[in-house]
């Protein structure tokens, strides 16, 4: 049996009355690749922070290589060999690349004086270890998300870490870079360095993990060798239900053929060009592409967050001018943004307020004053309709789980009665049970005649839910499958990653 590196037993942690962790165990052997699955709110962030020494557990023990951790500060964990890469990367935007990479090293060595030469050397070395070349004097805030990821990873590597914890580290890097990252993880394994990989992307998890721990509501549901699990088994463990995954069928004869949304020759310098596609009533169109392929930029232009340089957008056959989100909304376009917490929800405001913000105008009486009872009724209606789990719409949105939060954002857009609903990454950070429900909601909308666009990284999600698939890469559409049944997940991913040559497309 391999040596145990980290052994966490009976970890419990309560925050202002909420039990974030309830008797959770976690064992990681030297060089093991262990994955942690759980939606936002399951306790995985807390568990990571307890291991990292940021929070002290209320009860339970953590030992690293046999030594008990006192949990007094982060430095103790860092010195024991634990390195955490957070989802937000925890970089200093105002400092240079060199400083960001070397900063942990500097703190760990307990020095008082800064040795800039050593800092630069450390940074250069760390970057070369993963084969990257970034200007180390550049301020981090001027870099793209992908480059920031690389810096975060380099930083972790400067510490002679024995356990690297990656919290949703792949959410903003391309799958090429993910492959690269995985190869590094395997190299680390050879050196005896363990990885705790936290992710909601099941495809990646199954690919890289040796063992998988599942958390839900602060409790450990179980630890399984990854070969014993697949998506269906996982769904059963997490929800207790047998969830079926059936692809969506588009019944073209039921609906009008006039496209609800038609985009022609859309182009924006430096972001995308030659974008042409249609969305007809009842269709669910999927857009897939690597980070940086321009997918979010295109839809944000359609929604009015930004403007294209040239090209046209038409709604129900008529060309429209969209200069801001209000224009888009007026034409019946709704947009669920990629980042729920920074773009989609007012987390400290009530659930009800979040839902009605898009339609507040509907509650105005003749006097231009708000009809508050009408507003409240509307709030209650939507909470009902989308089964949002809350005792009252007056609770703040941040009191909800990830899946429920997403339903609030969906509700706020459905309240506008849109013709076209664009969803950018609708199931990111959501547990498998809620994911399924949200897919059902989306399909129902399509069946009622709405035109839907889904953007996702996950080939399986796209193929299951969309009748048409568009592949984007480096700012253009490189392939469109008029029928999603014509392609399978592996082939689709190959095209996305440009591993396959494609001819000129229809």
């Amino acid at each position: 049996m391999a040596d145990v590196f980290l052994e966490a037993k009976n970890i419990s942690k309560t925050f202002v009355g909420v039990k974030a962790l309830d008797n959770v165990d976690l064992t990681i052997s030297k060089g093991e690749i262990h994955c942690l699955i759980g939606e936002n709110g399951s306790g995985k962030s807390t568990l990571i922070k307890v291991i990292g020494g940021i929070h002290k557990a209320d009860s339970g023990t953590i030992s690293i290589e046999g030594n008990l951790l006192s949990g007094k500060d982060a430095i103790e964990s860092i010195r024991s060999g634990v390195q955490i890469i957070y989802q937000d990367l925890s970089l200093f935007p105002n400092l240079t690349v060199a400083e960001n990479i070397s900063i942990n090293d500097m703190l760990e060595s307990n020095q008082q004086v800064v040795n800039w030469k050593k800092m630069r050397e450390t940074a250069k070395r760390a970057l070369s270890e993963i084969g990257e070349d970034i200007d180390i004097d550049e301020r981090v805030e001027n870099l793209s998300v992908a480059k920031k990821q690389i810096i975060a990873i380099s930083r972790a590597l400067t510490q002679n870490a024995k356990l690297i914890i990656m919290d949703e580290a792949t959410s903003a890097i391309t799958s090429e870079e993910v492959k690269h990252l995985f190869s590094i993880i395997l190299k680390l394994k050879e050196r005896g360095i363990a990885t705790l990989f936290v992710s909601h992307k099941l495809g990646e998890v199954f690919e890289i993990a040796e063992n998988i721990s599942i958390l839900r509501d602060g409790k450990l549901l179980g630890v399984y060798p990854s070969h014993e699990l697949n998506e269906e088994r996982l769904a059963y463990i997490m929800t207790g239900l047998n969830l079926k995954f059936e692809p969506y069928t588009y019944e073209s004869d039921k609906f009008s053929q006039t496209p609800l949304l038609e985009v022609k020759n859309l182009a924006k310098g430096g972001q995308y060009k030659d974008i042409n596609f249609q969305v007809r009533p009842g269709e669910i169109v999927g857009i897939i592409g690597l980070i940086g392929s321009g997918r979010t930029e295109v839809v944000e232009s359609i929604f009015g967050i930004d403007q294209p340089d040239s090209g046209s957008i038409s709604v129900e056959g008529t060309e429209v001018s969209i200069k801001n989100p209000r224009d888009a909304m007026r034409h019946g376009i709704a947009f669920l943004p990629e980042d729920r917490l920074t773009q989609g929800l007012f987390d400290v405001q009530s659930i009800g307020n979040n839902i009605v913000i898009t339609v507040i105008r509907n509650f105005l009486k003749r006097s231009k004053l708000l009809d508050l009872p009408k507003k409240r009724t509307c709030e209650h209606e939507w909470v009902e309709k989308l089964s949002i789990k809350t005792p009252t719409p007056n609770n703040p949105a941040n009191s909800l789980s990830g899946g429920n939060q997403q339903r609030v954002v969906i509700a706020k857009w459905l309240a506008t009665d849109p013709k076209v609903f664009i969803l950018d990454g609708p199931t990111i950070g959501i547990d498998i049970g809620s994911k399924h429900t949200i897919h059902e909601i989306i399909r129902d909308l399509a069946r009622q005649g709405m035109g839907i666009v889904i953007i996702s990284d996950e080939a399986q999600e796209i193929l299951d839910n969309c009748n048409r698939v568009i592949v984007m890469s480096k700012g253009t559409i490189i392939k469109e499958f008029a029928d999603s049944r014509d392609v399978d997940a592996d082939h689709l991913l190959d095209i996305v990653a440009r591993r396959v040559e494609i001819g000129v497309d229809a």
Binding site: I54, P93, L95, I103, Q111, V114, W116, K273
Partner: protein
């Protein structure tokens, strides 16, 4: 490539404005660009510049300090009153006492900011009222005039490290205040660039959460920032006293917004984490010569506030417009290369 970066910085911009303005004024009034005038300028504005260093430091850490001026006057008035009462006639005593009081008052600021997580503007608004009220109530409101000042204070202000003679035989020189300023600038620069605690100030200003996770003791950093600012305010108080040879407990207070404006003009961002000492000094120079030279240009002092207001508005507009264009110009993916 490095040259391009220099041009993008707001410090360069401010420097150009200073040069342009100086040229303009000198044309109208040649007396401006004389050593006599410049030394005088340095003497009278070194104190404010020292205050500016403290405010700059707080700004870098992500806070806004409106209590520095109050701390300066409180340390000044209390120290000189105690000094006179005690009969001790030593500048070291005065500096020491002032510094001590400044550090204590700064520590109280740090307590609220760091431990109770109160927004810094609110904390410093509260403490400035608190400190000033206590001082006026328990130490009185009577000004201390030159007659009551101990010898050491009176003679300190006259010390010059470099003395020159004018045509009429009178002397002028480079004041010791300037030397103190330079010394503090060097010390602060070294701390900020070459010590871990100095880098931690930039770190917490850039991303407080990340700083905690990286293992920085953010509490320690906050205490350092505010006590250092308090210390600098204390030093400024003594210099101010030596300069005008008069201590009125209602002076200095009210000028904090002007100093903040100067620091911001010099390129420090109100959101924290960004800024340089050079820029701060340039900003202070700009505001100072604007203030002084309105008089030289024949405009009465009433115009001062208006001018500073206009300069601030123009200055920040340019800074933030620049930032806006930089953001939108940033390409997210290259459609051509790679």
């Amino acid at each position: 490539m490095n040259l391009k970066r220099i041009f993008k910085r707001s410090e360069t911009f401010v420097l150009l404005i200073i040069i342009a303005f100086s040229v303009f004024v000198t044309i109208k009034n040649p007396a401006f660009l004389t050593l006599d005038n410049l030394f005088d300028l340095l003497r009278s504005s070194s104190g404010t510049a020292i205050l500016g260093i403290g405010i700059f430091l707080v700004l870098i850490s992500g806070g806004v300090d409106v209590s520095s001026t109050t701390i300066a006057i409180v340390t000044q008035y209390v120290s000189i009153t105690l000094m006179i009462r005690s009969g001790i006639d030593s500048m070291w005593f005065l500096f020491g006492l002032s510094a001590f009081i400044g550090i204590v008052l700064g520590a109280i600021n740090a307590f609220f900011v760091s431990l109770l997580k109160v927004p810094t503007l609110i904390v410093t608004l509260g403490t400035s009222s608190l400190y000033h009220g206590i001082m006026l109530e328990f130490f009185g409101t009577r000004s201390v005039n030159i007659g009551s000042l101990p010898e050491s204070v009176k003679s300190f202000g006259k010390i010059n490290i470099l003395t020159l003679t004018r045509a009429d035989g009178s002397t002028y020189g480079l004041s010791i205040f300037f030397v103190i300023l330079i010394a503090l600038l060097i010390i602060t620069y070294v701390i900020l660039k070459y010590t871990v605690i100095g880098r931690s100030v930039y770190a917490i200003g850039g991303n407080l959460e990340a700083a905690k996770r990286a293992g920085f003791n953010t509490r320690k950093t906050h205490f350092f920032v505010y006590t250092y600012a308090g210390l600098l305010a204390g030093i400024m108080g003594v210099i101010h006293l030596s300069l005008i040879r008069y201590s009125n407990p209602n002076y200095i207070v009210g000028t904090e917004l002007g100093v903040i404006a100067a620091v911001v003009l010099g390129g420090a961002r109100i959101s924290g984490g960004t800024g340089t000492l050079t820029g701060t000094m340039l900003g202070i120079i700009l505001i100072t010569i604007l203030e002084k030279n309105l008089i030289m240009m024949g405009l009465s002092t009433y115009w001062q506030q208006l001018f500073i207001g206009v300069v601030l508005i123009l200055g920040v507009s340019i800074t933030y417009l620049q930032a806006k264009f930089q953001q939108s110009g940033k390409t997210i993916i290259a459609t051509e290369e790679e």
